[in-house]
Each structure stands twice: as structure tokens, then as C-alpha cells.
């Protein structure tokens, strides 16, 4: 008996020893996993200043208050939301620990991660989350849309909230991860102090924190030493975020060509947004890596509220006449910087579809003329607007030529950006304007989908489908509704999609770990030369 017990004990000890050896051994390091658990090796990866050049600094870093793209770029590294999009653009818990959905899909109970600190050292709790989400619901247009379907939000304790929806909505979870004017979490004190005014207190939970903002010169972020990362492997914007670099310094370099040259000169490590004209040269440079990401939809937005293009037949004629291949090639010159497909949502989302796409890129001049005749078009002048000196003006010129070839009479005016933005809000001023819809992960974020946005697509069928989209309980339901909306787009023609252009970012070979997701995020980015 004693021998058997001794053998058992010895066996147990041997098993424990073997397990200890296994756990101490370094894991396999595959090329996809350059970060090992060896603390010495990991230590070597930390350090350095990532020097980023961009076009334009934001007016604020208060993400609730603006859709400005520069705000989003820097806020991404500072703030976090309850959820974050993975590589498949599905929302994953970020500040949320876990969540459950009731059987009727109307109640979301979200538990929060504990021990998450803000940059001011305060622990994040449910009161911060509630205050931030409510502020977001008042200030953000997406937030207001979401809140139309929220019956109540309850504080269940320091680490749990409950959201009660009016109707089931799969979009609710996506909205908690939307980057554009997203529901980032601030300390309650910041929310209380600012109300719905823009705040200049920049305090988040992200891996980087604001160190200094010298207006018109630079924005400097530093590593947040008390950051609380998730444990999961990085997956898109979700998963573990590690601030390898000590600092990120954003510097304005307004001219796109000079931004590119500055990178080649070694003055920066990363450049956000280069011109398509520089793409070929920089791609051929063996010392640089170019990322094509964050596509922008290039569109002709048609005025459906007033004027001759309120006639659907003429809008259908416009759609039929166009050769998108020629338009995009003529405007951009390099097929590497744009792409063509009929989907109204980007491939980099979960809502890509080519339904009804046969109506796109038809270049059927006979059909166009027939539709114009049916509409009784008598040569009235169509007033178009585009931003002078921009790529959209080039697109508008070629589009105009194609439509004039079938008999449309068009007057194209190039305006400065501020003038265009004012005029597009007046339905008496134009029949169409040209512009882009920058990347957004969910169809409801498309601004032209809303009846009050310039273009004024107020079709009752669309309004009904939009409500259904918001109230779809599952992704599959959402997709079904979205495909119906896309069919409606190709029948009612509120916009004409001309193509998609990539946002081009470039970095040196010293920069490792950059994912190339739509908005540039610099966690998990390492500098080889520190």
C-alpha cells in the first residue's frame, strides 16, 4: 500500500515536472507570430518614436462631436469602445467582457471588464459607460438613430449594464463598434463637464494617451503604461493591443506630393494618404510598403427633391449611359488605385453584394436615349457641382462628356470645398454634385441613405426598408434587407456609383506590424530601427 502510494506520488511529481518544463519552454515562433513570450526578446521590440505625416489636423479629438476623418485617425489610438471590429468586420468585445442577448433579442446585458484604467488613473465602471453612450446618443447622428430604438439603458452595478431595445436590432452591436463618430468611452466627469459641447479633455482607455498638441505643428501621443490589454490574439481592431512604440507624433504636411517625398527622404516613418499619382513610384521603391485600404465610394449624388432630375426616368437614363471603366481610368489613370464593382457597400465590410449589379456600368446609350425620350427631356440644363481641383472634378468632367454624348445638356461648375458644402444643402442650386463616401462599416452609416442629407432620398419604400434594416435581429436578416435596398438603389437611382478609390498609406520597412485596416491604428506596430 505504501509502495503503491509512493509510486502514485512519484508519478504525480513527474507529471508536474514535465508540465512545468513544457510551460517554461518557448512557444513555436511562426512567421505569423513574431512576438514570442521570451521577455528579453519582447523587451527588444519596445521603443522608438513613430513619426507620422498627414494632411490636416482635426479641430478636436472629441470623437462624439465630429465626423472629421482626422479626429478618427488619432482618436483610434486613444479611446476604446465596448466593442471593436475584427478582420471580418464583426463586433467583438473590447471594453465589454462579455454579453448576452435575451431570447426576444431585445435585451442586451453587457458585462464590463474590470480593472480597466483611464489615462487619469481612474477605473472604468458602468457609470462612465452609461454617461458616454448617452452623450454619444445625443451628439452623433448614428447615435441618435440607435437611440430611437432604445427603450432604456440600466446601470446594474459597477461592471454591468443592460440595454433594452424597442425592437430587435443586430445593428445595435455593430453601432457599439462603429469608428465614425463612435461611442468611445470617456470618464463620467469629462462627460458631465462638457455636456454636449465639444470637450478638449482627452482621456480614454486606449494604449496611447495624449501628451501634447501644438496646434498646426504636431500631436504627440505617448504609451499609456497602465493600459489593460485583452488577452486574445489581435484580430482586426479587436484582441490584444500593445503599444510597442514610446511615442506617436503626427505632423501636418499639407501637400500630398511633399508628404510622399518626406517619407522617401527619411523624415517620417508613416504617411497617411498619398496621391494616386505617386502610387506607382512608391510601390516600386523596395524600401517602402504601400497599403491600399479604406476605400471611398466615388458618387454622383442626384437631387431628388427639386428640379428635372427628380424624374426617376432621367436618373435611370444617367445610370444607363455611363461607362464607369472609362470614367475611373480617365480620372485616376492607374487601375491600381481604384476598383470597380457594383456593390454599394465596400468589400471590407460584411455587407458586400452585387445584387442588381447588371444595371451598373451598362454604357447603353440607346437605352439612355430611350429613357430620356420617355421622360420628355427637352434639353434642359443640368447644373452640376464638384470641388475644383479635386479628383471628383476630374470624374465629373468625364461623366459630363459621356452624358452629353447621349443628349444631356450639362453645366459643370467647380467650387471650393466650403462653397460646395453650403450649396449642396440647397435643393434649388443644382441637379447633381460629385463627392465621395469614405469608408464606413455598416450601411446605415451611409449619409445619403438619410432623407435629410443632400440629395434628399425620401422614397417611402426606402424609409420602410431602412427601419427594417435597423430592426433586423440577425446579420442574415440585415443582409436580406440590405440587398433589397441595393435593388432599390439601382431602380430609383438616388446616387450613381462611379467606382471606389483606395486610401493609400505608405511606411518604411522599419515599421512592422501595421495591419492596413481602414483607419490607421498604431498599436501592435513596432519600429525595427529604434
Amino acid at each position: 500500500m505504501r509502495c503503491r502510494g509512493l509510486v502514485w506520488l512519484l508519478s504525480l511529481l513527474m507529471l508536474m515536472a514535465a508540465g512545468g518544463l513544457v510551460s517554461c519552454a518557448p512557444p513555436d515562433e511562426t512567421p505569423d507570430d513574431p512576438v514570442g513570450d521570451d521577455p528579453d526578446e519582447t523587451e527588444e521590440l519596445f521603443g522608438g518614436t513613430l513619426r507620422v505625416a498627414w494632411r490636416d489636423e482635426p479641430s478636436t479629438i472629441d470623437l462624439h462631436s465630429t465626423t472629421h476623418v482626422s479626429t478618427r485617425f488619432v482618436a483610434k489610438n486613444i479611446y476604446e469602445m465596448l466593442f471593436a471590429m475584427n478582420e471580418e468586420f464583426q463586433p467583438q468585445p473590447m471594453l465589454a467582457e462579455d454579453y448576452s442577448i435575451s431570447d426576444d433579442a431585445r435585451t442586451y446585458t453587457i458585462s464590463l471588464r474590470q480593472g480597466v484604467l483611464f489615462h487619469n488613473g481612474k477605473e472604468m465602471t458602468s457609470e462612465d459607460v452609461l454617461a458616454s453612450i448617452k452623450r454619444w446618443g445625443e451628439m452623433s447622428s448614428v447615435g441618435r438613430t440607435v437611440f430611437e430604438n432604445i427603450e432604456s439603458i440600466e446601470d446594474l452595478g459597477p461592471y454591468e449594464i443592460r440595454v433594452q431595445l424597442v425592437e430587435p436590432s443586430f445593428f445595435f452591436l455593430s453601432s457599439m463598434a462603429v469608428a465614425r463618430q463612435g461611442p468611445v468611452i470617456y470618464p463620467k466627469e469629462v462627460v458631465d463637464a462638457a455636456g454636449t459641447d465639444t470637450t478638449d479633455q482627452v482621456i480614454g482607455t486606449g494604449p496611447f494617451m495624449l501628451d501634447e498638441w501644438i496646434h498646426d505643428r504636431e500631436i504627440r501621443l505617448v504609451r499609456f503604461e497602465d493600459y489593460s490589454p485583452r488577452e486574445e490574439e489581435p484580430d482586426g481592431y479587436s484582441g490584444r493591443r500593445t503599444a510597442y512604440v514610446d511615442e506617436i507624433v503626427y505632423t501636418q504636411v499639407p501637400d500630398a506630393a511633399v508628404r510622399a517625398m518626406s517619407l522617401e527622404a527619411g523624415d517620417y516613418d508613416f504617411v497617411i494618404d498619398i496621391s494616386g499619382d505617386d502610387y506607382a513610384r512608391l510601390s516600386d521603391n523596395p524600401d517602402l510598403t504601400v497599403h491600399k485600404s479604406s476605400p471611398t465610394l466615388t458618387c454622383m449624388y442626384i437631387n431628388k427633391a427639386e428640379g428635372i432630375m427628380a424624374d426617376r426616368l432621367l436618373r435611370q437614363a444617367a445610370l444607363a449611359a455611363l461607362n464607369q471603366d472609362e470614367i475611373m481610368m480617365g480620372a485616376y489613370g492607374d487601375p491600381e488605385v481604384y476598383r470597380l464593382n457594383p456593390s454599394i457597400m465596400y468589400k471590407e465590410t460584411a455587407y458586400y453584394t452585387e445584387v442588381a449589379g447588371e444595371a451598373w456600368n451598362q454604357h447603353d446609350q440607346e437605352l439612355a436615349k430611350q429613357l430620356m425620350e420617355e421622360a420628355g427631356y427637352a434639353g434642359e440644363t443640368l447644373r452640376w457641382m464638384a470641388q475644383a481641383g479635386s479628383e471628383y472634378y476630374d470624374v465629373a468632367v468625364i461623366t459630363r462628356d459621356q452624358m452629353q454624348a447621349v443628349g444631356f445638356n450639362i453645366d459643370l461648375e467647380g467650387l471650393d470645398g466650403a462653397t460646395l458644402r453650403e450649396y449642396r444643402g440647397d435643393p434649388t442650386m443644382y441637379e447633381a454634385f460629385f463627392g465621395g463616401q469614405t469608408y464606413r462599416p455598416h450601411p446605415i452609416n451611409m449619409s445619403w441613405l438619410h432623407s435629410d442629407w443632400p440629395g434628399w432620398w425620401a422614397l417611402p419604400e426606402k424609409t420602410e426598408l431602412k427601419i427594417q434594416l435597423l430592426q433586423s435581429p440577425t446579420y442574415e436578416d440585415e443582409m436580406r434587407v440590405w440587398e433589397q435596398i441595393q435593388e432599390l438603389v439601382y431602380w430609383d437611382v438616388p446616387i450613381v456609383k462611379l467606382g471606389e478609390t483606395y486610401s493609400l498609406s505608405v511606411h518604411t520597412l522599419d515599421v512592422e506590424g501595421y495591419l492596413g485596416m481602414p483607419d490607421p491604428a498604431f498599436w501592435n506596430v513596432r519600429l525595427l530601427d529604434r
Binding site: T67, M261, A265, T438
Partner: protein
Amino acid sequence: MRQFIARRLLTLVPVMLIAATIVFLLVHFIPGDPAAMILGEDARPEEIEQLRRELGLDRPAYAQYFTWLGNAVVGNFGNSLYFDRPVLGVLVARLEPTMTLSLFAGLFAVCLGIPLGVVAALRHGTGVDQSAMTFSLFGVSIPNFWLGMNFILLFSVTLRWLPSTGFKGIADGPWEMARYLIMPIIVLGLSQAALIARMTRANMLEVLRQDYVRTARSKGVNERVVIFKHALRNAMIPTVTVIGLVVGNLLSGSAVTETIFAIPGVGRLMVVSIARRDFPIIQGGIMLIAGFRVLVNLLVDVSYVIIDPRIRYS
């Protein structure tokens, strides 16, 4: 003389206010909504309207003007619509780069332009004269942005001698400042140097034909004395006028150079503020430029007295 200077300084206030009033009328009656620019491309109409109300932009233009005027006379130029920070602070923060660039570009223009013009005049009709004038022709013809981008391509990208963009002030050390500013100084100053060279040459040629110059030479006066004491000094009055115009242009004309070289100065701020319709910044900036012009013109008038003792202001 003191009275003259005092009277000219008093004209600063009405000149600045008149300039700001004209600019106020222009920016408020051209299309473009700052609220829409602040909120971004996706802003919905009710959001824009709300921000317009918060910024007071929904008030009648005359009400906005008198509010602004009443504050301006006590030195309060309002807040930037884009940054929500005092206009004066925003402008002052950007003065150092612009004044540094303008000052050194002006010095460069004068130090290059005057000798070039003198040499061209003295070697009139020779290859030296033609080379100098060809050089000055290129100087006035070449666009700033083209020259700047090619400088960056050569000295930053290819040779890696100089940083491509940015600004370092005197606090960062004179050598660092020089490294960052040498290209923008040449780009901004070259066209002005060309202008000064051409004016100097023309004025020198006219003066060198004068009887008193021939008399001085016939009396055996040293040629250097003839050129620098008699000819150049008399040629300087119109040249100084041009230098005054050049210096005045540098402050307002630095926008392109500042944009290319990413220098955070007043010029670049004015350009982006116009694009954003940031009215308070535009008005404050125009007042600054107008005031600077008045001061430069005063300095030019005072210099006439120094150059030509016959000139007196009553």
C-alpha cells in the same frame, strides 16, 4: 520727424479696422458655412443649424460685425471657430515661423539682389550682365511651389542633406534653424531677389549716365567711391521703394512656401482658414498683415531721409 512717425503710427488703427471691415463683408457674403466644415462631411442639416446657433452665426451680419468691432477695439478678436481658442493666441503662435522666414528671405533677397543689380549695371552689355538678367528672369518666372518641390527632391530625397519639411526656431539652435529654413528662404526670397536686381540695375544705369558721375570720374575720384558713394546711393531711393513692397509681400506671400515646406506660419494658417471659413482668424490675420504693411511703409519713408538728406518731412 518724430511727429511724422507718430502721425503715421496713428494711421495703423484706422487702416487695420478698415481692412478688417472689408474682409468681414467679403467673408460673410461669400458662400461657405464654417459649421459644416467643422462638423465634417456627413453632418446632417439639423446638426449644422445647431452649431451655427452655438457659434452665433445665425445672428444678422451687422449684429455680428458690431459685436466683433466692440471687442476688437479692446483687443479681443474673438475665438477661432475651428479651434475654439483666442484668435490672438492662434496668430501669435504662428508669428515666429512666418517672421523668421520672411526676415531671412528678405535679407537673402536684398543681399543677392542689390549686388547682382550693381554688377549687371557696371558690366552693362557684357556676358555678365546678360547672365545676371537671365538669372533674374528665371527668378521671377519660376513658381515657388515648383522650385520648392524640386529642392526637396534634390536636397532631401536624393542627397539627404537637409530635412524636407518642418520648422525649428532659434530656441532649437541656429544650426538646426538654418537646416530647416535654408530651402524655404531661397524659395521665397529668390523671386524677390530677382525683382530687386532688375530694379537696382535699371536705377544704376540711369544714375551712371548722370553728369555728376561723369564729373566725379573726370576729377579722378576712385571708382569704388564713384559707384558706392555717388551712384548707388542715388539709385537706392526707388530700389528701397521696391524693397519695401517686397518685404510687405513676404508676409502675405509666404503661404505657398509655408504649405510646401509644412511650416506652421501665418500664411498657411490664412489659407486653411479661408478654406474652412474661420472668419475670426481671417479677420485677425488680415489686420495683422495690414498693420505690418503700414509699419513697413513707414520704415521705407524713414529710410528715404537717411539715404537722401535733402528729404525732410514736415
